[in-house]
């Protein structure tokens, strides 16, 4: 999808890789790395490649964790908080509406302010948790990028699929170069998949990735 739909050059990184092959944006995708043993993302963060991902993020490189990738970034300490069992105790696989609260980021520059995008979720442990101090810091600094909402953009408890605090679906670090989100934009980046809203995020990242590292 990155190469064929977005038209960006794509390299696959293996967990044992010792370098990032010159990537301008590292996407840590979903899946169940190491079988979610112990905790989701707990073992994956020790993968050799993660050390390089951390250094890359420190230099300002774009790092984007999706679903299990978000869990890995939290475990690695690149993003605050943690993802816990869904409040329903069920695995949830369904379409959700997300309100985009930041459009000044490299990942969201092609979205309109407070645009509602339709992106599916597919997880059992996607309930965002952070202690009250961390949560208020995230809100004050505008680090909440995506919130589960109703189709009209209202953030309601009914629209929250997993019990995430403050309906949080995605957050960014203070510097704005590390994004984590539970919903799957790659599953709605082609019309054949039932939606194309995710494409806006990939196009944003592809357009901005090189600029970010150069600046």
């Amino acid at each position: 999808m990155i190469d064929q739909v977005v038209g960006a050059e794509l390299s696959y990184l293996w967990h044992k890789d010792a370098d990032l092959k010159g990537c301008d944006c590292v996407i840590v995708p979903g899946g169940f790395a190491y079988g979610d043993y112990l905790r989701t993302g707990a073992i994956a963060r020790f993968a050799p490649v993660m050390e390089k991902v951390g250094e890359f993020a420190d230099r300002g490189g774009l790092v984007w964790g999706i679903c299990n990738g978000f869990q890995v970034l939290c475990e690695a300490g690149l993003l605050p908080g943690a993802l816990i069992r869904n409040a329903s105790v069920e695995y949830r696989c369904e379409w959700t509406n997300l309100v985009v609260e930041r459009t000044d980021l490299p990942f969201t520059s092609q979205c309109r302010d407070r645009e509602v995008i339709r992106v599916p979720i597919s997880h059992g442990e996607g309930s965002y948790f952070a202690d009250p101090a961390t949560l208020s810091r995230l809100e004050q600094r505008g680090q909440v990028v995506f919130r589960y909402c109703a189709a009209d953009g209202r953030v309601t408890s009914n629209a929250n699929p997993n019990g995430s605090l403050h309906n949080i679906a995605g957050i960014v670090n203070a510097r704005g170069n590390v994004l984590g989100m539970m919903p799957h934009p790659e599953r709605c980046a082609e019309a054949e998949l039932g939606g194309t809203d995710g494409l806006k995020l990939f196009r944003s990242a592809a357009a901005n990735a090189i600029k970010v590292l150069a600046s």
């Binding site: 939290c74 943690a82 816990i84 069992r85 409040a87 105790v89 948790f129 019990g163």
Partner: protein
């Protein structure tokens, strides 16, 4: 030596598993149960020269990997030659 480690969700963290188990117990007639928290038990066999050393090492293991301090608390006891100490 054996370290017996118990990891539990922090009191402030919602524990949907615990809530569901409590409902199950209530259905079975255990009405006296007011709440349930579900955590995990980890047993670690280790070669340490002293109990104190083992304690320090297990503490480090819990901090670095076995528990996530954002959402979990941990406690452990070390068993040496059949003697248990908290």
């Amino acid at each position: 030596m054996i370290a017996r480690i118990v990891v539990t969700p922090k009191p402030v963290v919602n524990d949907p598993q615990g809530i569901t188990v409590r409902q199950g117990l209530a259905t079975l007639g255990f009405r006296e149960v007011s709440s349930v928290r579900v955590g995990k038990y980890i047993e670690v066999n280790l070669d340490s020269t002293s109990e104190q050393e083992a304690r320090q090492r297990v503490e480090a293991m819990c901090k670095q990997l076995l528990a996530n301090h954002v959402i979990e608390d941990y406690r452990f006891e070390i068993e040496t030659d059949g003697h248990r100490r908290r």
